[in-house]
């Protein structure tokens, strides 16, 4: 017996859902969606759950992560209920539920919260730089350490526990058992999806827009490579021309591709880009700023004029800190992580229980 909770809709609206109340459950959206299947029926069902406020059904559902927001459903909905957008909002809601700190939810629902957080980081970075009285080379050094520790810390204390919580909701609360074999066999899914977003290619829409998929793919690779280059190969301090060149290429990839994404969002050509939540904007803009500022810093180093333009490095550091402390753990960045894990968890629960392979 599930209790209907009409207040839930107010909550979900804050995550960016809007017109879904108009839905009269005709099912056109589910019929048209190229990604839904017999194990995961969406988006109509998710709209029902949302309307009725069945939180526990939503929290334990993996379906929202199966949707890549191609927007076919929204284009075809006879009531203009924008089911694709609802799926997106539910993903934001889910992220806030996985996040034990509760900060994700706070930021998603309040633009002001985001802005305050950004300001705190700016004040923090500038404050430390003024108070610390470090010289420039020392600063470069600290910047590098900050990067290493923040990444490790965020992963250990925030993202890892959150993934465990996600696992608990999706796998444990549904199956109530821990099938090691399934967990092992399904691991492949995790990596494939993390790097390729393979599933999005099954979408009819994406098939016609392979450029988008390719850009996305390049961006993921570029981003991970830049991360590796700056953090582990210490790009800003390296003497190796090869590493230096790699850094230029990767950062350039990032700001070129994100620039295109910003343009797409501004043009609102497709359903996917027709509605942008603040968190979507922050994600692309900060990625862009990060790429371009890293590029500029290294350029100034190579030209030997960083001393005179030290504000550029400070700017880069501010962007980096905001990215690492706000957007990565509590913002849109996590989509990338949770979606990959969702594919993994879905593979676990949808697999028939460890059947001996010989039995045919």
């Amino acid at each position: 017996m599930a209790k209907v909770n009409p207040d839930f809709v107010k909550d979900i609206r804050k995550y960016g859902a809007d017109d879904f109340s108009a839905c009269f459950s005709c099912g056109t959206c589910t019929a048209i969606c190229s990604l839904t299947d017999k194990d995961n029926s969406f988006p109509r069902k998710m709209i029902r759950y949302t309307m009725l406020g069945l939180e526990s059904e939503i929290k334990t559902s993996v379906d929202p992560w199966m949707c890549y927001y191609c927007g076919d459903c929204s284009t075809n909905c006879p009531r203009q209920a924008d089911p694709g957008n609802l799926m997106m909002a539910v993903r934001r809601y889910l992220i806030s539920k996985y996040d034990w700190t509760g900060l994700s939810g706070l930021l998603y629902r309040n633009l002001a919260g985001y802005i305050i957080a950004f300001l705190i980081v700016i004040v923090g970075v500038i404050g430390v730089s003024v108070k610390g009285g470090f010289d420039h080379s020392e600063w470069l050094h600290y910047g590098h350490y900050f990067e290493m520790y923040s990444i490790a810390g965020i992963f250990a204390f925030i993202l890892f526990p959150n993934i465990i919580r996600m696992w608990y909701y999706i796998v444990w609360s549904k199956t109530k058992k821990f099938n090691i074999r399934n967990h092992f066999v399904a691991l492949g899914e995790l990596f494939v999806h993390m790097f390729t977003q393979k599933r999005s290619l099954e979408c009819d829409k994406t098939k016609n827009d392979t450029l988008w998929w390719f850009e996305h793919f390049i961006l993921v690779i570029g981003y991970l490579a830049l991360l590796f280059t700056t953090v582990f190969l210490d790009w800003f301090a390296t003497k190796s021309t090869v590493i230096n060149a790699m850094g230029y290429v990767f950062s350039a990839i990032i700001f070129v591709v994100t620039f295109d994404f910003v343009i797409r969002r501004l043009r609102k050509r497709s359903e996917k880009t027709s509605f942008s939540h603040p968190s979507d904007w922050f994600f692309v803009i900060w990625l862009f700023l990060m790429g371009i500022s890293a590029f500029a810093v290294r350029l100034l180093i190579d030209l030997g004029t960083l001393e005179n333009n030290f504000w550029v490095f400070l700017f880069h550091l501010v962007v980096l800190a905001q990215w690492a402390l706000i957007i990565v753990p509590f913002g849109k960045w996590t989509h990338f992580l949770y979606r990959s894990f969702a594919m993994y968890f879905a593979a676990i629960i949808n697999k028939p229980d460890a059947e001996p392979a010989v039995k045919k």
Binding site: M1, A2, K3, V4, P6, V9, D19, S21, A22, C23, F24, S25, K45, R48, Y49, M51, L52, L54, R79
Partner: protein, 732 residues
Amino acid sequence: MKERIGVYICHCGGNISDYVDVEELGKMFHAEDNVIISKDVMFACADSNQKAMVNDISENHLDAIVVASCSPKLHLHTFKNVASRAGLNPTNYVQVNIREQCSWPHSDKPREATVKAAGLIRAGINRVSHSESLDNIEIQVKRAVLVVGAGVAGMKAAIDLARLGNEVYLVEKDYFVGGRIAQADKLFMSGQKGKDIVAKLYAELKSYKNITLFTGATVEKVSGSLGNFHVDIKIKPRYIHVKADPTTVKKAMDECSIMVDDAFSFALTKRKAIYKNYAEALPDVPVVDIEALKNDTEFLSKYASSFDLTQQDEVLSLYAGSVLVTTGFDSYQPKDGEYGYKTVPNVLTLPEFNSLMELNPEQLVYNNKAIKKIAFIYCVGNRQTKGENKYCSRQCCTSAIYSSIQLKEKYKNITAFHLFRDIRTYGKQEILYEKSSKQGDIYIRWDEKEPPIVEQDGKSINIKVKDHLTSKKELEVEADMVVLVTGMVAREDSQQISEKFKIPIGNDKFFNEIHPKLKPVETVIKGVYIGGSCQGPKNISESVQSSLSAAAKINALLKGGTVSLDPVVARVNNDVCTWCGKCAEVCEYTAIRSIASGDKQIAQVNEAICTGCGICAPVCLVNAIEIAQYTDSEIESMIDGFMQKIEIRDKSSESEEVETTEVLMMKEFPQLWKNILESIDKSKKSIPQLAEELATDKEIITYHLMTMNKYSVVMADGMDEKEAYYYYKRKN
């Protein structure tokens, strides 16, 4: 006896002649049969043939004609008109149907089809030779209309009838006009207030001198018939003195302190003992509730000059040419405990709830509780596949949704749940459904087999329901109030009205029209029409549409001052009739009464009422009553004609030989019937038992048994143990 008959046998293109040997039939009838002209024609209905028929009739002095062609439904009037044009009385025309009855059904047996056609044509010739020349019956009609019920349907019709120049008597049972919509606040689709519409219609009504409105009035007795209905109405008194000063009456009304439950607001409020249904109710004269007030002698004597307690029921006799019944509907009243009605607090019906909304302009409060969450349960008392009221009331979905939209416009922080079976906001009303969902109303769909369960849960109400839109998930809905969306049922007293005017009532207890598509406002009683929601569930526009079309029909009927009726009616042979009264007893239309004739009583048929149904003729023991155009001599001659032997040449065989044959007929029961009878004579049997015993298909047994049942050869006699099949026995 007609002795100069013309016979025309139609090919109907090839529709008839492809199977029936039309040419052979055209040569079959001669002077011995009183037939002067006999022809086969390609299209009997074609203009050229009609002209030829007119010529034939006048040149050959024909005194009767027969056309053997299609169904009389199609062309009876065509050929009657041909007869008229040629100066022949149209009742001397008979149409024989050899298409629907011969060529089409027997296309597999052309020869037998021809033989059957020959029999039918001979029967037709025999009948027409006995035909009489009859004139239509002309009836003088009074240009006055009685309209019963002053709801929106009745008022609109009365206004139209008066505008077209008819005298109108509008009889309303209540003391105030308007019917159900006076009880409503805003109405879909226009958003107008019901009370405003009533006020507007009343003003229009009053502007016509030829409308007389009677309130507090009911129909007591009806006699007479089309053109001259004779109606007694009873008018209840208001007990307000005719010469009372209105301001004093108003003062008395303000001062009155005796309060009783107000039926008009569904007992949500109290009303005074001197009252109007609502402040602006019309006519603007209050009513004294004498029962409630009779003990307050002090008050009564204070305002003695305003009251007249001696007033009595008054009976008036009215004469009207036609009657329009627009008595409307009742709302279904749930039984105690039905979805918690009367057993769980805060469960109301939709009309009650609408009244409550109207009474609470600012905040929705009931039983001192602020109401925020409201659950509507649909189809209450309607669409019950088992039990009464199988129909859908068609306006309640829209009504409930419209109320829900009003709710959110009027009050803050309202949540509305709609527990529905199907949403039937047909036509333009669909936009209201869309609006309601867009404003966030929550729709939950249940199935008749598992209705929602309403229970009290502390201070609020808990409803359990299985949602068919969410994989039949069991849901719990918490609400402050439950609104039962009740449908329409026939008026409680519709049976009485039906008896007075002889209007047939359907299984659903609403009044029945003759034909829902072709005669949608006519009843089987000539001159009596129905309109509005007394016919069946209707919203306002539909109610008004039907009552206005009845008004137009009535006006067309009465406009000329006379009405011409078909002469197919019963007639009495005065010499033979002994007034045993048997015919009057069986006549459902009460067309027969007794009159004095010389020194005895005899039966007399009111031709304006008689429908020619024929029920009276067979019951008369002395054969004193018969139906014109269906007299015994005509019918018997037809049977004789059909049974006569026919000489026919078989074209398909080479020989020139003429064969004499009998028209095929059932001389005895088919073998299977005999076997069935033999078997059930031993002991009663069910269909499967017979099928087994006679080693015959169940379907075949069923078909024959049903035919035998229809012709009263067998009858049902109880059911078998599993209650699956009837037993059958021979009917004596």
